[in-house]
């Protein structure tokens, strides 16, 4: 079924005098990381299928600065932020959707103080709104009755109180949503945030992603759902570490939906 992806850039639309409904902020992981690129493509397929007018910045996009900021480099963060804000403001962007909770948090919460105010939504919120407005239909055939547990990304959940959109989408797939012992407000970090993704963890008894994977495995899931490319990597590593990759898949909510829609 895989047809060509239609991925318009802001530059193209701008040249044609058009303004998309929403800017899709792809993020560094979504652009470069092999695993995360699959999430990006799944999300675009859904948008294409639903006929949503969107665009990406492409080569004009740059790191939001989140890992620099959490590592303590406020300079680098603000340089990145100001550059990105200039680009987005030049295009008159109003609404941004992203599949990365770190980009989501930074653009939504930290850019306004530097001159960049947009309506920012996480892709699960966006997809949920498409469902509500009847612009997307979802049937759960493939996932009917499957045990799925959802790992709350810290920067989506605790940091911004988004807990229900991803869960609603999973329920919409007729799947059996099972919660881990730590979920929602008390969710456990995957171990990647705060720039940890880019360094070796400090010495301890075990890595955070192993602990989190153990919590996920306790629910005996068939699928571990995630809503963040970094969580996805951490949980995938954890599942491999437990030698369960044959039985348990780690999938982004966008991938679940694209699969359910047979895209």
């Amino acid at each position: 079924m895989s047809s060509e992806l239609k991925v318009p850039t802001m530059a193209e639309l701008f040249a044609a005098g058009k303004q998309p409904e929403v800017l899709f902020w792809v993020g560094c992981a979504g652009s470069f990381d092999d695993r995360a690129k699959k999430i990006t493509k799944a999300f675009v397929k859904i948008l294409n299928n639903a006929g949503i007018s969107f665009a990406v910045l492409g080569t004009e996009e740059s790191c939001t600065g989140d890992p620099a900021k959490r590592a303590g480099n406020e300079f680098l963060f603000q340089m990145q932020a100001v550059t990105n804000i200039e680009v987005m403001n030049a295009y008159g962007i109003k609404k941004v959707v992203t599949a990365c909770p770190h980009c989501f948090n930074t653009i939504k919460n930290e850019y306004p103080g530097l001159g960049g105010s947009y309506e920012v939504v996480h892709h699960t919120q966006f997809l949920k709104s498409l469902l509500n407005d009847g612009r997307m239909v979802l049937e759960g055939g493939t996932f009917k009755g499957k045990r799925i547990t959802f790992h709350d990304p810290c920067y989506l959940g605790r940091a911004n109180d988004v807990y229900e959109a991803p869960r609603d989408l999973i329920r919409k797939l007729d799947a059996e949503l099972v919660e881990m012992k730590n979920c929602k407000k008390r969710g456990l970090c995957c171990g990647a945030g705060g720039a940890q993704m880019f360094k070796e963890p400090e010495k301890g008894d075990k890595d955070v992603n192993i602990e989190r994977t153990e919590q996920a495995l306790e629910t005996k899931p068939e699928i571990i759902a995630a809503g963040c490319p970094f969580c996805n990597t951490m949980m995938t590593d954890g599942v491999k570490n437990k030698e369960k990759e044959g039985e348990i898949a780690v999938m982004d909510i966008a991938e679940l939906i694209a699969t359910a829609q047979d895209l």
């Binding site: 790191c63 303590g72 406020e74 680098l76 940091a159 008390r186 360094k199 301890g204």
Partner: protein, 441 residues
């Protein structure tokens, strides 16, 4: 001679409250060693948070057992203060049970104090068992050794003693009322101390009066002692929880503050018309120190946080780094900040109002880099804290100091930052390849 007890009482009261006031002054001075921060926004929401979190204890019941026990002790403490008011009036004017005129209401009040006192004793015993017999994980962390552990238990002992004195006092009073002793008005209902009263059966009136008076004096002295103990104890939270929840973070937890000093410099750097070789204007402010290496670099809300910390360890038990055996403990971050602040405060007192460099600072001497770098900035600690403390903000400020003042990030992070600077991504990929994914099948 007749007025001697009243005079002694007045002296005791003045001394007790005066010493407390002196400590409050010191506390304020220390807290305002911190940088100024504007927390004057959104007053209605701030009042609401205080009412909910400090007064309403909403965050305590996240863990139901300690939560409910804590509410008992808290309500007991608040309500028994009405009794303290009566004691103070009686003490100053030589009256006895001055509120007795309230009749039925008075009986009800005394009865409810007694029941609360009993409940408090039960709760405190359970707390003690949790700390010392069941040995709950979060009370056993390294930062709890020594004084913090003793402090935790001492508070429990003091509370039991105060409650027992109160009940003993009432029991003796009850007996005296039975005897129709002069001065001892017939008032109050004693549902709990009635069970202690039989112990005093058959005692002479003089002895009963002695028991009653001793319990009364020890009770009020104990309360004044406890008041002054607060400053040296984690128990300070019974006062500071209120301002602390009022000034607690209102922004989304993931929103970190944008450093204004940096914004100004970035604007200059990005401004094509700015002359990079221009000499700075005469009145240009001294470049600010970025981030925090000592307590004075933190803002006063962060310092207030440190004094408010109850050392309950709810933050630490939720911290993913701590759960997986790393050195980081957000509770320790708060305790270290308070200890260092106390040290700085003492230094100022010793040196007649100015701080003399003692060659120490919060960073390295208290909080190690290993702890700082272990944080995932997940906000679990912030969410868990029952009194709206934000340990993460201190961790982030100290990381800023390490990176922007000392260029002392771990080498992997330096690589990451180099990549962002050069390629606009944390990995060494070319920005021009950002859209390649759309062509790949």
């Amino acid at each position: 001679m007749e007025y001697l007890p009243n005079v002694i009482f007045a002296i005791l009261l003045v001394f007790g409250i005066g010493y407390f006031a002196r400590n409050v002054g010191r506390l304020k001075r220390n807290i305002f060693l911190g940088k100024d921060v504007d927390v004057s926004d959104n007053k209605p929401l701030r009042w609401k948070n205080m009412a909910k979190i400090a007064l309403g204890q909403t965050k305590m019941v996240v863990r139901p057992i300690p939560g409910i026990l804590h509410i008992i002790v808290y309500v007991g403490f608040v309500i028994i203060n009405i009794e303290v008011l009566e004691i103070i009036i009686d003490g100053l004017f030589g009256t006895h049970r001055i509120f007795a005129g309230l009749g039925k209401v008075y009986d009800f009040l005394i009865a409810s104090f007694e029941i609360l006192a009993l409940l408090v004793i039960i709760a405190v015993v359970v707390f003690w068992i949790r700390r010392n017999v069941i040995r709950l994980q979060r009370f056993l962390k390294p930062e709890m050794e020594g004084w913090p552990k003793k402090d935790g238990n001492l508070i429990l002992y003091i509370e039991v003693v105060l409650m027992l004195l109160f009940l003993t006092m009432n029991a003796a009073d009850f007996q005296l009322q039975q005897l129709g002793s002069a001065h001892y008005v017939q008032a109050g209902a004693f549902p709990v101390s009635a069970f202690i009263a039989p112990l005093f059966q058959g005692m002479s009136e003089a002895n009963l009066i002695m028991v009653e008076r001793i319990a009364w004096w020890l009770h009020i002295s104990g309360i004044l002692f406890f008041l002054n103990y607060l400053y040296y104890s984690k128990h300070l939270h019974i006062l500071l929880a209120f301002p602390n929840t009022y000034y607690g973070k209102l922004r989304p937890k993931g929103q970190f503050k944008n450093l204004e000093a940096v914004t100004n410099e970035v604007k200059l750097m990005m401004d094509p018309s700015a002359d990079p070789f221009a000499t700075p204007a005469e009145d240009a402010p001294v470049p600010e120190k970025f981030g925090a290496s000592d307590v004075k670099d933190l803002d006063w809300v962060q310092l207030l946080n440190a004094y408010t910390c109850t050392e309950c360890g709810r933050c630490t038990s939720e911290c993913p780094a701590n759960q997986t055996g790393k050195k980081l403990s957000p509770r320790k971050i708060m305790m270290d900040t308070r200890d260092r602040l106390e040290e700085v405060g003492k230094n100022i007192d010793l040196n007649k109002g100015t701080f003399k460099d003692d060659g120490k600072q919060l960073l390295d001497d208290y909080i190690t880099r290993e702890e700082l770098w272990a944080c995932t900035s997940c906000n679990a600690c912030v969410e868990a804290c029952p009194v709206s403390i934000d340990p993460l903000s201190i961790i982030m400020d100290m990381r800023q100091y390490l990176v922007m003042e000392q260029s002392a990030a771990p080498s992997d992070l330096n690589n990451m930052m180099g990549n962002i600077e050069n390629n606009g991504a944390p990995w060494p990929f070319n920005q021009m390849d950002r859209l390649n994914w759309s062509q790949e099948s």
